[in-house]
């Protein structure tokens, strides 16, 4: 896949500024004209015509222009594989004069000699014009196709901009690594109370999908399957300093295991306890591993599980270890942090089985792209986030 590019000789991202009453409407009209101009046949008959493709709307809202600019290459990379109309808006109610400015441009992927283009509209909203931001974005959405809202920064569900845009979206994409798991829990709880709520998704959930699949493999064998109800001990490892709290990936992972295996949370003198469906306790340990440079804090780094009738003599011991920073640089679609995961399964009466797999590139664009490819509705996420709420509330920390 070649890098996304704006079209050579195409319409430049001409800025358009407007403010005050009627300003937003004029801006939208100008942006629509800019979009039409982008797709006019080229005047030069020898020029390669651009092909516009649009399979969804991707709305991105950031609390600052700087953050939005940092995120723009991520969206450009995503739209190279999911052609879309991307509407990127920085909304700063406390900054600058009351104005809304914007521009439109084509972002083209030259992969395979094709000139497939998405549209990128950038809006900057300041001051009281922020109240009109949702309306302006809604007016620019392409009808009849799905809309994903990517919300960068903290979410307040009583924020009218969020409420209005979320109401138009099919799914709201958050990243608890940048906001917080509490924020995602909060939004998920809000969605549960809405009549036509969008699906809420956390990029951390997509990041742990491989871990879920690998963990499920421990119980695929008919002989080990009954042991799924006899898990005695879990160790979660994350890249962090000792004393740190459980990260979003760890919390979601525990939430997922708990809901799948029918565990219950309980308290003992205020401390969290996890119990299996048969009432037996499950020992949960949170451990830390050193965090190499470039690895995000709280990244899930390992997992160990024991199961059997006797906690001191487990019948099954499974582990999944991530070799942090073991990625490659010479592979297509991989990066230095596309780590290797080593899966091991040892049963009391068998030789240990080991498998190595490579995680996908640990890039924001890849996680967002993968998230957008997944079905919007994911009951397991909704259940897991509700379970994770208990774990986060109790502040499970690295021992």
């Amino acid at each position: 896949m070649s890098a996304p590019t704006t079209p050579a000789g195409g319409a430049p991202p001409a800025g358009t500024s407007d403010a005050g009453t009627g300003g937003a409407a004029r801006l939208i009209a100008k942006l629509e004209q800019e979009l039409r101009d982008l797709w006019k046949p080229p005047e030069d008959p020898a020029a390669t015509p651009l092909t516009r493709v649009c399979t969804m709307n991707i709305g991105v809202v950031a609390p600052s222009r700087e953050l939005l600019e940092r995120y723009t290459p991520v969206i450009d990379e995503v739209t190279a594989s999911i052609p879309a109309r991307a509407i990127l808006a920085s909304i700063e109610p406390d900054g600058g004069a009351d104005e809304i400015t914007g521009s439109a441009t084509a972002v083209c992927s030259l992969s395979g000699g094709k000139n497939i283009c998405s549209e990128r509209i950038t809006l900057a909203v300041h001051g009281n014009a922020s109240a009109r931001a949702a309306s302006a974005i809604e007016a620019l959405l392409v009808p009849e196709i799905p809309t994903a809202l990517v919300w960068l920064g903290r979410v307040h569900t009583d924020d009218p901009v969020f409420e209005d845009l979320a109401g138009e979206a099919h799914r709201v994409v958050l990243d608890s690594e940048y906001t917080s798991i509490s924020s995602v829990i909060h939004v998920a709880a809000w969605a549960r109370g809405q009549r036509n709520a969008p699906e809420i998704v956390d990029l951390a959930w997509t990041r742990i999908a491989v871990w879920q699949e690998m963990l499920a493999r421990f119980f695929d064998d008919l002989e080990t399957r009954p042991l799924a109800s006899k898990v005695t001990r879990l160790v979660l490892k994350q890249a962090c300093d000792p004393g740190a709290g459980i990260g979003p990936e760890g919390a979601l992972m525990l939430g997922w295991i708990g809901t799948r295996l029918g565990w219950k949370t309980s308290r003992l003198a205020g401390a969290l306890r996890l119990k299996r469906a048969d009432g037996q306790a499950v020992t949960i340990e949170l451990a830390s591993v050193p965090r190499p440079a470039g690895v995000a804090p709280h990244t899930l780094a390992g997992f160990m599980l024991e199961a059997g009738d006797d906690p001191k003599a487990p019948l099954l011991r499974g582990s999944i270890e991530r070799e942090l920073a073991s990625g490659l640089t010479d592979q297509e679609d991989t990066t230095r942090d596309a780590d290797v995961i080593v899966w091991r399964c040892a049963k009391a009466d068998r030789a240990e089985i080991e498998q190595r797999i490579r995680l996908g590139a640990n890039k924001a664009a890849k996680w967002l792209e993968r998230t957008l490819h997944r079905p919007a509705r994911d009951v397991a996420f909704a259940e897991s986030i509700a379970f994770a709420e208990h774990i986060v509330e109790d502040g499970l920390t690295v021992s």
Binding site: M1, T51, V53, T55, A80, S81, I82, P83, S109, S111, G112, K114, I116, A209, V210, Q212, E213, L215, A216, R217, F218, F219, D220, D221, L222, R225, A228, S229, I257, R260, L261, G262, S326, L328, D330, Q331, E332, D333, T334, V340, W343, C345, R350, A351, I353, E354, Q355, R356, I357, R358, H373, R374, P375, D378, V379, A380
Partner: protein, 515 residues
């Protein structure tokens, strides 16, 4: 019999599909198919995390070679033919640990004893749970020998055992599934002597293509099209499987087979079935295949007289393809100078059922045509009354074209008004292309099909009765040609076939599309 409880951690899991633990045993592991297609496909499944934790590949072939030599050959094949490059050293070292090689002749029982011992070791070391997936990458003449020896060596598990959670055995075979109905039945009987039909996976790589799979989604997940998908609205259907290449050094093979057996009997018939079938009651393998078989049974059988009317064959002569002069078929290496083998065939096929009564399906396949293209075109009826005067006779009918390759996608042609004061009509197309809309690196057909076989999903594989019905339809055509004195008409390479093919449609007042 009790069905095992499902794995609770699989409930609601959306992650990519993974195969069941197994040992994949490839007979004919020294051949080109293994090196070019199978190993790269397996490696790509490993890269995409679709291989199970318990997995091994065991090559079986006559040539003496060490394990290291075999691994090196496979690595070279993967490096050259994998769609993802270069090889990931961390994954390859793990992948390579699961590769084994058993040398021996296919007709020697000791080969199978060695194989059995090797597989026992693999089960212990790799956790493959006595599950076996045999891939016969060998000429059909070898099938009977291998199948009989597998049975004798107790290397085939009881199909009933799988249903109660025991180990499974499956076998994948490559086309041709016989040479005619009789030989197909003999082949199927031979395989059935060791394997239950539920254990047999007959691979037709066309069914692994995204667009072919999408045909079911397109038809049965969209309420817009199905109501019009019948004789009330469809005028005719045209299915084209065109290649621009010649026999590419395979003259000896092609002399034995011809385009009808190579393409029409299998790929083209499958495309026709998927286009014409009724909605299945579910997406289970047998539900889908039941509906395909009904289509095949509804095909109006042809007799000598109707074959002369409804079937046209041809053979390419010299000509120009993509600007290059190319030789005639009879000038190709290993082709007889007076060869009567057809490199082109066009047929008018009728389906005698409620949905399609009277709607002709025009199908054609050929080599050295102007371009490589496979498409299914549904041509709808004309509007009942034309309101718009136009010098060329008026409104063109709507066409829905499903492009299987290249540029997989779907296009709908309809008529619109040109902007301006006059009412001038023009055809335009709404064009959906996979590559543009999804832009992803689509898996090779073999990846999808191998994974399906590992999971026991036979939906995209052909069942015995399908194969036999296909031959039952094709056999009379081949027999009729055998009795004809005249050789097939020659068409210049780089054209869309002999003139007689155009006449076939002209007689019905229609013409071929130029895809």
């Amino acid at each position: 019999m009790t069905t095992p409880a499902p794995n609770p951690l699989r409930r609601g899991l959306i992650e990519d599909r993974t195969g069941d633990p197994c040992a994949l045993v490839i007979f004919g592991a020294s051949g080109d198919l293994t090196r070019r297609k199978l190993m790269p496909a397996i490696y790509n499944l490993a890269l995409s995390r679709s291989l199970p934790s318990g997995f091994a590949t065991v090559g079986v072939a006559r040539r003496a070679k060490t394990h290291a030599q075999f691994c090196a050959e496979m690595k070279e094949g993967v490096a050259q033919f994998s769609r993802r490059k270069p090889i990931d050293p961390a994954l390859w070292s793990d992948f390579e640990r699961g590769i084994g090689y058993v040398q021996g002749s296919f007709d020697d029982p000791s080969t199978y004893q060695k194989l059995a011992a090797h597989l026992d070791e693999v089960d212990k070391e790799r956790g493959t749970r006595r599950n076996r997936l045999y891939y016969l990458a060998v000429p059909p003449a070898e099938f009977a020998t291998i199948v009989a020896n597998l049975r004798e060596a107790n290397l085939v598990a009881d199909a009933a055992a799988e249903r109660s959670g025991g180990p499974w055995t499956r076998i994948i075979i490559e086309k041709p599934f016989g040479d005619d109905l009789q030989s197909s039945r003999e082949l199927n009987d031979c395989i059935a002597s060791a394997f239950a039909e539920s254990q047999v996976f007959r691979i037709d790589h066309y069914l692994g293509k995204e667009t072919v799979q999408n045909l079911l989604v397109f038809r049965f997940a969209n309420s817009l099209f199905e109501p019009t998908w019948n004789r009330e609205h469809v005028d005719n259907v045209q299915i084209t499987v065109a290649e621009d290449i010649g026999v590419e050094g395979r003259g000896k093979f092609y002399e034995q087979i011809g385009v009808t057996k190579d393409i029409v009997e299998n790929h083209l018939m499958q495309l026709l079935c998927l286009t014409a079938m009724e909605p299945p009651i579910s997406l289970s393998a047998d539900a889908v295949r039941d509906e395909k078989v009904k289509v095949l049974r509804s095909l109006r059988r042809m007799e000598a007289s109707t074959i002369r009317e409804n079937v046209v064959r041809g053979q390419y002569g010299r000509g120009f393809v993509r600007g290059e002069e190319v030789p005639a078929y009879r000038e190709e290496p290993d082709v007889a100078k007076d060869s009567r083998v057809e490199t082109y065939v066009a047929m008018k096929v009728l389906i005698d059922n409620w949905r399609w009564g009277g709607v002709p399906f025009y199908v054609r396949a050929g080599k050295r045509l102007p371009r490589k293209v496979t498409e299914i075109a549904i041509q709808f009826k004309q509007v009942p009354h034309n309101l718009f005067a136009a010098p060329d006779g008026g409104v063109s009918p709507n066409v829905l074209a499903v492009r299987v390759q290249p540029d997989e996608g779907i296009a709908l042609r309809f008529t619109t008004k040109e902007p301006g004061n006059a009412t001038v009509l023009r055809d335009v197309a709404m064009d959906f292309r996979y590559g543009s809309a999804f832009g992803s690196n689509t898996p090779e057909a073999y990846e999808r099909l191998l994974l399906d076989a590992m999971r026991g999903d036979a939906t995209l594989f052909t069942r015995r009765d399908e194969v036999e019905e296909q031959w039952a339809f094709i056999d009379p055509v081949i027999d009729a040609w055998r009795d004809q004195a005249a050789p097939p008409p020659i068409y210049p390479a780089g054209t869309w076939g002999p003139e007689q093919a155009d006449d076939l449609l002209a007689r019905d007042g229609r013409r071929w599309r130029r895809p």
